[in-house]
């Protein structure tokens, strides 16, 4: 009888370890799902992050340089207007 009780105690201890292990696995999976969901929501291709190479040239600057090559009168005024933007985030 006494040995039966001792066995039962060991069984409860074993079961408790499995329950904790299961909870840890579930916690890790749920947190991974949450993180991957956050990463998925923030997927956007932003132009500032696209750099093809060191020699990559600004398309618009090249166009303006052609025009300056023809006539660069009032260049400072033109350049100060060009760097302005009506869009706040640019």
């Amino acid at each position: 009888m006494s040995s039966y009780n001792l066995n039962k105690k060991a069984q409860v201890s074993d079961a408790f370890s499995w329950v904790v292990a299961t909870l840890v696995i579930i916690f890790l999976i749920v947190s991974s799902i949450y993180i991957s969901s956050l990463l998925g929501k923030s997927k956007a291709v932003e132009k500032e992050k696209i750099i093809i190479s060191e020699e990559d040239v600004d398309w618009i600057n090249e166009k303006n340089n052609y025009a300056y090559g023809i006539n660069d009168f009032n260049k400072e005024q033109i350049e100060s207007w060009i760097v302005e933007s009506d869009l706040d985030d640019e």
Partner: protein, 182 residues
């Protein structure tokens, strides 16, 4: 062997099966939640559109010759024939009925150096209803992602007579359904 299997062994087998199902389900949910959200490429698409418009308006520092009228000044026909002259199609996609409702717009303003507030010529094409979205910059707004994304480019060019012009190009792309998970 099977006959000798105890009740505890059977419970453990069921437990391991349940753990495998939980992990497999978790991996599926992770992949689905990450790849279920589309990439938002509208910002870069608007930038490319603005670059292509700039390429059509200014050729090697000079205004496109079709912008000039015979009587001098700007030719209004350029605005009317903008799509064919610059090879644009703002109704290119038929998904979500976009072939009937343009998902792009552009506004091009030409200024003299002496007056950069009042344009001497302007071109408006596409669905101009999206223009107001360009000025919605509050990223905390829950609908921010649904707004059209815009790009502004400013260039300098000369006409055939050497007169200097400042050109502001505003281009926008809506296409929310394809770029944002609603």
């Amino acid at each position: 062997m099977i006959k000798g299997k105890t009740g505890t062994d059977k419970v453990v087998s069921v437990y391991w099966f349940a753990v495998i199902v939980i992990i497999a389900g978790g991996v599926f949910a992770m992949a689905y939640s990450f790849y279920g959200h589309p990439y938002d490429v509208r910002e870069i698409e608007g930038d490319i559109l603005a670059n292509k418009i700039a390429d059509c308006i200014s050729v090697q520092g000079r205004l496109n010759e079709k912008l000039h009228s015979e009587s001098g000044g700007f030719d209004g026909n350029f605005s009317d024939d903008f799509y064919s002259i610059c090879n644009f199609n703002f109704n290119s996609e038929s998904d979500y009925g976009w072939d009937k409702t343009a998902q792009y717009f552009t506004e091009i303003n030409f200024y003299n150096l002496s007056d950069t507030e009042n344009s001497v010529f302007e071109i408006k094409k596409g669905n101009m209803n999206y223009k107001q979205d360009c000025y919605m910059t509050d990223k905390k707004n829950k609908d921010y992602k649904k707004f059209a994304k815009c790009s502004e480019k400013r260039i300098y060019a000369l006409d055939d007579s050497g007169k200097q012009y400042l050109i502001k190009i505003l281009a926008g792309v809506a296409k929310t359904e394809k770029n944002v998970k609603l």
